[in-house]
């Protein structure tokens, strides 16, 4: 587990993964949804992390602490937690 945590803690990978993760699960607007998306500030990312931490019921530090990294490595449902994305799909 610590090896896994060590791997994910690599900063360059983390930034990329973090953005994808937060966007995918509805904590940050995607770049296409929001023109500001391309200009994300550290503050907005911190708030998104905080929002996710609150939702998950772990301490809302706004930082990528061990519990948050562990949470992000936990298998989960692919639907967003916050309904920023359209998730309805019609068939027939």
């Amino acid at each position: 587990a610590s090896a896994k945590l060590g791997r994910i803690a690599k900063r360059e990978v983390l930034d990329e993964n973090l953005n994808v993760y937060l966007t995918r699960f509805g904590y940050m607007p995607s770049a296409t949804d929001d023109a500001v998306g391309a200009l994300r500030t550290e503050e907005s990312v911190r708030n998104a992390i905080k929002e996710m931490q609150e939702f998950a019921g772990i301490p809302a530090t706004g930082k990528l602490d061990d519990r948050t990294i562990k949470l992000m490595n936990t298998p989960r449902c692919g639907l967003p937690d916050k309904s920023r994305q359209t998730s309805g799909r019609r068939k027939r």
Binding site: P75, C77, G78, R89
Partner: protein
Amino acid sequence: YSVRHIKWHRTDLTWSLRTTQFQDQNLRSYDVRYVISKALDVWSKHSKLTFAEVDSDRADILIYFHRKDHGDNFPFDGRGIILAHAFFPTGQEGVSVDVHFDADENWTTSGSSDLGTNLFMVAAHEIGHSLGLSHSNVEGALMYPWYTEMKNGFEYELPEDDRLGIQSLYGARDEKKRERIPHYPHQPTYYRPTTTTTTTTTTTMRPVTRPHHKYPYDPRNPYGKHPHDPRNPYGYYPNRSDKSPQKPMHPSKKHHYYPTGSNPDHKPDKKHYTPGYDPNRKSTATRQDYPLVTKRPYTKTVKPHHRNQPHVTHIPTERTTRYVPKEYPGEPPPDTCDTSYDAIAVIRKELFIFKDRYFWRIGDNGLVEKNYPAEITRLWKDFPKNLTHIDAVYERPDGHIAFFIGDKYYLFAGLRVVPGYPKPITDLGLPVSLKKIDGAMVWGHNGQTYFYSGDMYWRFDESVQKVELDYPRNMAMWNGVGTDIDAVFQWKDGRTYFFKGKGFWKFNDQRMSVEHVEQKPSGPFWMGCKQNYEENGLNQK
């Protein structure tokens, strides 16, 4: 909890598993259907919702297994973080919603997460979405987005948060007004096409729920209670204490309420009429009244039961009856390449072949040769030390392994016997006169469990752990197999194989007949032994 406020306007929903090939994942279709049905039960138990399985892409909830990008803007990521997703109801009649599982995950259908990612748990969560529930931020709730282990396996109870959520959408189940119909996945409610002629001819799908004059409509039970009532999608009495008359339909009747004519559980028609089946048998008969099934002496050719059944030539076997267990003091293990088999089953995705007090195992890399055949008690230590053989074995849909020895059966949870076992096979509803069963399997064609003994077979209802009332029936239904089989099982290819003597038949589940009249020798095919025979079997040896 969090709801979408767009919900289904009906509470009687249908579902269908649309992915049926699981070659890469070692999943079996009927296992997945069973797990999905249990996941649906989690929700229906606490709401007014009912679910019926249909074989149609027009079902309300369609279930698929996909890989990577599959065209819905929610690509899967291979094995790992994202397990599945589902879509919310649209609120419009006739619009289906999808539930997608990541085919790359290491799914397990066993009800616990020991062997992989628990499909039951993930399915129950995703079905929550397809009913209109969003993610909950309550840790421990089923709709919590991150994967957590469920308690109690298939007996999982919906947490309060989810219960309140589903009841806010569909209301709580009123037990007094509504008799619960047991949902059993292996008896899908097929939608029968009916043709309506107006100016043009159109084909519509509607459920088989028409009132029938033989079975008066009972508003308390719209599905019908009689097993032959066409409104009853289950084929058995939903309420086992029901004492209503049981009068099977005469074979000459042309009513045929089932989608295909190849299933042995269908009413016998002229083509499938079996001499051993008494259509006029009254309901006063109990299971114990069924005739004694006795082993016949070995004969080289079995007389066909009817004109369509070919004469069957058997490969000689050194053993014709095992009613009285033999003792094997110091007897050497059987010859791997030259023996008959007592029982065969796929257990935990590995093939186990049993003979006398030994067994072989065949995994993905073929026969495990080192230290095999091994004594059965080496792996399943809770058997008595003087174990001489087992008669039949199969892995139940709930993951337990049932071994049959004489008139008793053992239930194992993995390698340990379940406390209280062995129990007499009469506990399963089999007749007292029955001394042993020859084979047991979960049939891939319909996911039902079958027991075989002599010239009879039974269908077994796993939900109530009893054989069904309309059985036994005659083995002639399994055309070409004959009687007194040694073993039967469904292999990973989804096909059924019957064994007798030193040979086997591959069975065609659609045509209900063996694919080759002559047996094929077992050793070369199953054990990888050197082929000492000409191409096709024993007569050309």
